[in-house]
């Protein structure tokens, strides 16, 4: 508990951008629906083996900054103490329980209740088998923790998960071993985000959005993982993960696909959008349906504007950026603007200038916002189950999204325009 409090002291909100920071590293809440689908898309694009490598490296880089900075800020000395704090941090973020140095072997880590593996089992385990481990994020975290705790060069520890709960074993184990140092990447931390020019924008009904966002942010700050390291809230599992993990894994995979199978780039982008869609639909939908929301925002009437305002507030509170409504025409059109998304901030620092909008999470999230606003009968309080979601998408999406402006293209803001397809091809390809 003492660790939780000490860690929580270093959580801040980056004003104007509405990003959540931990030790000045941008972090985001995402639910298990998003996390599983996002990772699955990386694996589909690269194959399970290469996909796991790419995701492990992305997690290693992303978590290294958090662990190293936090240990520094908290002035934790000694290998044992540092390892204990790294383990506590892992649980605090909702990723499960991690034990480093199992059996006195510093090259061995063991995980239980890991976010990805256990959530995969809960969501898909009864319907299908999985032949590959699912916890590349934990593997990356364990590698980063070993580098920090043992003072090893950054990007110099490799981690692989051998047994995994998805393969019907009780615990997950990770083998850590030194490797040649991988090239270091340009960091994306608070100071780098702040270099992105901030366009002061506000939303239609800004007061309502801001008030709801603040209330929700306060509520979220009181959410703690349980003793197993699981962050259960609103009927879902959430995890706090550095934004760099999602960005690096996705953009690296996209670049690879563009090189070896350019015809599949559009498909991959569509699947990344779908990851955002399924995650946003479930997370935002469950939050809107929750008693906590009713306490803070009153009972839902199910009006389009009400849901969109709620979605913007939730987006801000989850550290996904300063979502602002620019225009809304019920059943026709929604225009959202964000001064910068966690994706565009990363893109301009790592990938250079984009030729088209590169905020795939934000694109899918905007689509999900329209879905939530128009296709959920809120007053009858439906169960937002997997079946409900599948039925909703049986005929495809009745909306299309276009990122008309993007910071990664040199625009001042990111702008998402969602419009009705009205009988056009509704396929998910978008």
């Amino acid at each position: 508990m003492a660790d939780l409090a000490r860690i929580a002291e270093h959580r801040t909100t980056l004003s104007g951008y509405d990003f959540e920071l931990l030790a000045d590293v941008p972090i985001v809440y995402h639910c298990h629906h998003f996390n599983l689908f996002w990772d699955q898309t990386i694996d589909d694009a690269l194959g399970a083996q290469l996909g796991a490598v790419v995701r492990t490296r992305a997690a290693r880089e992303a978590f290294y900054d958090v662990i190293a900075r936090l240990l520094d800020l908290l002035a934790v000395e000694g290998e044992k103490e540092q390892r204990a704090l790294a383990e506590a941090l892992f649980a605090t973020l909702g990723h499960g329980t991690l034990r480093m140095g199992v059996g006195g072997n510093s090259g061995l880590a063991e995980g239980t209740h890991l976010h990805h593996g256990t959530c995969w089992r809960e969501k898909y385990g009864e319907r299908m088998y999985r032949r590959r481990p699912a916890d590349a994020v934990t593997a990356g975290y364990a590698a980063a923790a070993m580098e920090v705790v043992h003072g090893l060069p950054r990007e110099s520890v490799d981690a692989t998960e051998e047994p995994c709960v998805v393969l019907d074993v009780p615990n997950c184990r990770f083998a850590l071993r030194p490797m040649d140092q991988a090239p270091l990447m340009r960091p994306v931390l608070r100071e780098h985000v702040e270099r992105t020019r901030l366009e002061p924008i506000s939303s239609v009904d800004e007061t309502a959005v801001a008030v709801l966002a603040e209330r929700l942010r306060n509520h979220a700050s009181k959410l703690f993982a349980d003793p197993d390291g699981r962050l259960r809230a609103f009927g879902l599992y959430f995890a706090l993960t550095p934004a760099t993990y999602y960005n690096r894994a996705a953009y690296d995979a996209l670049r690879h696909v563009a090189r070896i199978a350019p015809q599949s780039v559009r498909v991959m982008k569509a699947l990344l959008r779908e990851a955002a869609h399924v995650g946003t639909f479930n997370a935002f939908g469950h939050i809107l349906m929750s008693p906590q929301w009713e306490t803070q925002g009153g009972p839902l009437r199910g009006e389009v504007e009400e849901i969109v305002i709620g979605a913007c507030a939730i987006g801000r509170a989850m550290g996904l950026g300063r979502w602002c409504i620019e225009e809304i025409v019920p059943h026709q059109r929604l225009v959202l603007r964000v001064p910068a998304t966690y994706e565009s901030c990363y893109y301009v620092h790592r990938e250079g200038r984009a030729t088209e909008g590169a905020c795939y999470f934000m694109q899918g999230a905007a689509l999900a916002t329209m879905q939530l606003a128009h296709r959920v009968p809120w007053t009858s309080r439906p169960s937002l189950s997997g079946d409900f979601y599948d039925r909703l998408l049986e005929g495809g999406l009745p909306w299309r999204v276009e990122e008309t402006r993007c910071v990664s293209k040199g625009d001042l803001v990111c702008e998402l325009v969602v419009s009705s397809t009205e009988g056009a091809n509704r396929r998910l390809t978008l």
Binding site: D44, A48, K123, R127, M128, Q263, V267
Partner: protein
Amino acid sequence: MATSAREDLGRVALGAPALKEVFIVSIPDCLLIKSWARAGRTNEEETAVQLGSVFRASVTALTTAVGSEAVEGVTVEARDTLIRLEQVTTGMMAAFVFERSAPLGLMRVQARQLRDHIRGSVEQFTKPMDTGTVKRVPASSADRAMPAAPRFSSPSTEERATPRFGPTVSDPTGETPPLGVPRVRRPTQPAPTPIFEAPPPRVPPPPSTTFDSKRAADAFTREVTPFVAEATMGPDPTPLPGDLTITPQPVESPSSEGEITGRFDRTELDEALKPASPPPSPIPDVPTRPVARPRATRLLDFFRRYAPDPHAALLRLSLRTGIPVDLLEAPDALDDAQVDAIADSIRDILGQDPVGI
């Protein structure tokens, strides 16, 4: 005895005028193996899925209610339709759709007779050949000149008539293929050997006013056998030795067993079965269904049924295989390498093999 497929279907309809549709469905995956309909239908695959699901649910319900008792059949009564679901083998069920006017007992009898015959055909293909059913080809004059024909290589009626497979699979007179030869087969499908001891004599069928269930079942089985066998055995059956043949089961004369009278239009039936001329089919233009669904189609059906997040299933396959989504939506055009890639991806995504495909 020579007959055409269309006449076969006509005979089925003659034998059971209340029979409207038949679906052979694989279980537990509920994929359509073969269907027949008196009138046109466009959603047979979806219907097969639903019928298979009803059957599966019935089995589950029965097991829950009374333990592990085997389901013999399921009857669904609607205002205009009766449906009888029968288990053919452990991996296959048949659904017989009757008009509502058919007496329940009659419907059950006809459904079981057809089911038994289908089951017999399946067993014939699935169990190891024994000497009781396999004979050496006699050196009859009609067959002496025949080359050792590949047993499992006749993909279609049209191809069967070409010299590629020799004359063994077509009537020496150049007429329609003899009874017992599946009308359409694909190269990978097991099939009864097309070699006969001697051409069966052309004997006009005796006039009958009774329901000739055996003949009706024979006719229907000839339609479904290749697909039944394929679904049961998979694509890589053990080939028969080149000089062995299956003795065709003799067509029995109408038996009193299962004789049904009083429900049919005797005048029409008599007229239809007049021995002097080819029997006019009461349904002259029964459309014959596409007889075989390509492997890619079946794989994709299987995947759509079992894939997580079905709305994104094709996109995931496309990303994994590099095959454009448009092509996956029209899988007939896929080549073998692409189909293999699809099968591999399905195996990876689901963690299991697409059973029997």
